[in-house]
């Protein structure tokens, strides 16, 4: 199968073909989803090397568990669920080993180099993230950066929908405050 043909296939179709023995097609899935998984890794580990190792581990785990993918949810959600569970268990074991609690939150959102409007929005989200307990921070990324709806975030993380809603609500409030009378508002009015 040529590269273009493989690119045109849906994730779910590729899973079927990989399960039929076309292992090489798994590369297409890796290329499609690696940035999301890496981004998730950065949220948890805040370090590119660890996030890169985490991304590799998640894909290898996904490959070994591929037979269990029933197609009940989108492949992307299924993969994020594996990533989330793996990140939580790695963090838990690291924390238990090091005896750490409540780490300082550093931003990894692109900052100074992006246009000021976006920088303001990202700064507001940073504040929202910092105000959240660590395990809920990923909800902000899933909602605002990956565009996942509440029920999909619930499916991935297992957090109650109302809890997710309230954290996203709080982030939206901060976002709204940041937009009020800011360059962002002027920018929006100009459009």
């Amino acid at each position: 199968m040529s590269g273009n043909e493989a690119e045109a296939l849906t994730d779910e179709r590729i899973v079927v073909l990989v399960l039929r023995g076309e292992t090489a097609l798994f590369r297409v899935l890796v290329k499609r989803h690696q940035r999301r998984i890496f981004f998730t890794g950065m949220r948890f580990f805040r370090n590119e090397d660890d996030a890169r190792d985490f991304t590799q581990e998640v894909f290898v785990k996904a490959y070994t568990a591929l037979g269990g993918f029933r197609g009940e949810s989108r492949f992307g959600s299924w993969l994020l669920r594996i990533a989330f569970n793996h990140a939580v268990s790695v963090k838990k074991s690291t924390r238990e080993a090091a005896g750490l609690e409540g780490e300082h939150v550093e931003s990894f959102y692109p900052g100074p180099e992006v246009m000021s409007v976006r920088a303001e929005i990202l700064a507001a989200l940073d504040r929202a993230v910092a105000a959240l307990p660590e395990k809920y921070r990923i909800c902000i990324d899933f909602f605002f950066f990956m565009g996942l709806p509440y029920d999909e975030i619930h499916e991935i993380t297992g957090f109650p929908v109302n809890t997710i809603k309230s954290h996203v609500f709080r982030a939206k409030q901060l976002l709204r405050d940041a937009l009020r009378g800011s360059a962002a508002e002027e920018y929006h009015e100009m459009r």
Binding site: L17, V18, L19, R20, G21, T23, A24, F26, R27, V30, K31, Q34, R35, R36, F38, F39, M42, E48, R52, T55, Q56, F59, V60, Y63, T64, L66, G67, F108, Y109, P110, R118, I121, L125, F144, F145, M146, G147, P149, Y150, K165, V168, F169, K172, Q173, L175, R176, L179, R180, A184, E185, H188, E189, R191
Partner: protein
Amino acid sequence: MRCDKAMRRIMERGDGTGYSLSLRLHLRRCARCRAEADALNAAIEELTRAPLPFPGIDVSDAVMAEVERLESYRRDVPMYNWVGGGFAILVGIVLVSFSDSFAWLRGSFGRNFEMPLSIVLGIVITLYASAFIATHLDMAESWMAKRRG
């Protein structure tokens, strides 16, 4: 509806759609809320649409190297094995009629033996062909897709 209640309702929604009638009426009347809601929804949409950071990340080689070390989900039988197997079955069917055992069977049972033997051989060929088709459905699908254009 008051402005603070309207903005709360807007922020409670997962996306910028599906507002209630009272909320839509409020937004129609109140330019300030409308501007705020539009700015908020536009900001969220911009974040969602923007590509994720870390564009240079590529772990596909490392992942595939690891995956290649694991066992493949299915070991495909090479095509020449299928052709060889089919050829062996056909040769066997032809040659069996020249064997001593077949001559003895024919001597003992006469022509009555030929019908059940044909059925058995037919079943063997059908099973072999079914196994080949079942394991090559994807090939058949892509062939049909090409024909359809």
